[in-house]
Amino acid sequence: PFSFLQNYIGGKTITNADITKTIELLNNHLIKKNVSPEIASKITLNIQKNLLGSKTRTWESVELTAKRSLAEELQKILTPNTSIDLLHEIQLKLNSKQKNPYVISIVGVNGVGKSTNLSKLAFWLLQNNLRVLICACDTFRSGAVEQLKTHVNNLKNLSIDEKIKNQIELFEGGYGGSDLVAKIAKSAINYAKENQFDVILMDTAGRRHNDARLMAPLQSFARAANPDKIIMVGEALVGTDSVQQARNFNKAFGADRTLDFFIISKCDTVGDLIGSMVNMVYATGIPILFVGIGQTYTDLRTLSVDWAVRMLMS
């Protein structure tokens, strides 16, 4: 993988051409890992600076410098600089006087795994003894409501304990247009308050990030639901489009609201080609809450940045 750097033998001054060559190789390496060319160039710019700084050192140190710089750079990009302790934040809100439920909305483009990973989140919250209301705000795609209904039934049946069966419920209002979505969201919040649910997970319809007609309703939805957290699900399979997907969703909620987290799904389908997570995080600065690594309820993990960097460097 990095054997191309082995050609460098110690004791020669680095020329500009050498640096250009090294940077191109690093760029190609990142692109192989599914990092978009745009983001790859931006990342390697810093490394170029480091290489220039090592001008008088030996060839061997160039190899090390390049590798180390890249690993450090990736580590920096993927390490969240805000808290991702969601349980803690939920507890804070639940402990406050108002006793309002904690609202989480899930958004993203078509078919990335929003509904599935929402169900995984529900499982995780249940395990942490929280009462969860799932709200079917995808009123568009055929079978979207039944999909959530099935998940809620499955999650109920995971336990024979009657008490736990009451821990999760589905709130739905059938199918219809975006007026219906806002209405369902509002009713769900009232319902959750009346029935002492701790967390509401709102599923939304998949939408094309570059279609204003589809993106605009997200703003009115966010106004109606006023979510504590907006989580975008992005998939590991997607290529360069991931950059624009993340950017467009991040600015879909108006001037004073951004995304809070990403869940990167389908990480089990790409081997070490996990570059789309770099794209999305680099493009927006939004941290990764979880990664999806399969299709069952337990296939949700906190991202190990060390692991990710190792995959990207391999």
């Binding site: 078509n110 099935t150 489009d241 790409v270």
Partner: protein
């Protein structure tokens, strides 16, 4: 479609070299190849393919000693030929025949658009007076049968599925048998999403195939898929031997390059593209036409016969 943008960039890069008044230097060719490579990479074409294409074009151009104007023509032709080789393949897709059962099985990665596309294809054939039925052999994904059922009902296509049978092989076998008995001409079998890393899921796909013996297996690919496209497509090809590709979500900013890589890796033609969530958002795909449109030239044939 963003592919048009790719075409523009490649054209511009070629024009830069071929329209200059001075003779072509190696450095000019390098600049051109660099720009072409970058445009392809930004469209998600597999990087190994891009590097191979770059070397191959360069070798052909540099080794050729044709002077002046003809040299420029050669450059143009070489670039076009190599790009054509990427998207075009000689393999002819299966053509369903009337008055007999044509079983079409859908396979693909999770969330690619299989279930949605099943109904689109069903409607396409129904409009052409085939008797079409849909079979839901996805017993895994929550709500999969409801999804297919609602789509089929809206489009008035007969469908088969089960809420109780958990074995997709059984559902597929029973559904196809039932439609065959009733003299259906096109029987489309939807299956659940899977990926090459899960051996069991691939085994299941092979078993469904053995049970329904499809005349045509279609791989549905998301148009925005990145560098994993080639490996996944290759694995699907080995296990399911699909004979056609349908590319979905081409209404977005999907670059389609991943799919181009899948075509190159599997020598399998793209037959339709999906351009939206609604049933009518569906277009036939002709590679030759597509390339000439991509490269912004009307008469690609003329160019190729020089």
């Amino acid at each position: 479609m963003v592919l048009a943008d790719l075409g523009r960039r490649i054209n511009a890069a070629v024009a830069q070299v071929t329209s200059s008044t001075t003779s072509v230097e190696e450095a000019d060719i390098d600049t051109m190849l660099k720009e072409i490579s970058r445009a392809l990479l930004e469209s998600d074409v597999n990087i190994k393919l891009v590097l191979k294409l770059r070397d191959s074009i360069k070798k052909k151009i540099v080794n050729d000693k044709t002077p002046g104007l003809n040299k420029k023509k050669l450059i143009q032709k070489t670039v076009f030929d190599e790009l054509c080789a990427l998207v075009d393949c000689e393999a002819q897709p299966y053509k369903p025949k009337k008055n007999q059962a044509n079983v079409i099985m859908f396979v693909g990665l999770q969330g690619a658009g299989k279930t949605t596309t099943c109904t689109k294809l069903a409607v396409y054939y129904q409009k052409r007076n085939f008797k079409v039925g849909l079979v839901c052999a996805d017993t895994f994904r929550a709500g999969a049968f409801d999804q297919l059922k609602q789509n089929a009902t809206k489009a008035r296509i007969p469908f088969f599925g089960s809420y109780t049978e958990t074995d997709p092989v059984e559902v597929a076998r029973i559904g196809v048998e039932k439609f065959k008995k009733q003299k259906f001409e096109i029987i489309i079998v939807d299956t659940s999403g899977r990926h090459r890393q899960e051996k069991e899921l691939f085994k299941e796909m092979v078993e469904i195939g053995d049970a329904v013996k499809p005349q045509q297996t279609v791989m549905v690919l998301d148009g925005s898929i990145g560098q994993s496209a080639q490996q996944q497509a290759q694995a699907f090809k080995e296990s399911s031997n699909f004979g056609a590709i349908i590319l979905t979500k081409m209404d977005g900013e999907a670059k389609g390059g991943g799919a181009i890589s899948a075509v190159a890796a599997t020598k399998t033609p793209i037959i339709f593209i999906g351009t939206g969530e609604h049933t009518q958002d569906f277009e036939t795909f002709f590679p030759k036409q597509f390339i000439s449109k991509l490269l912004g030239i009307g008469d690609i044939q003329g160019l190729m016969e020089h």
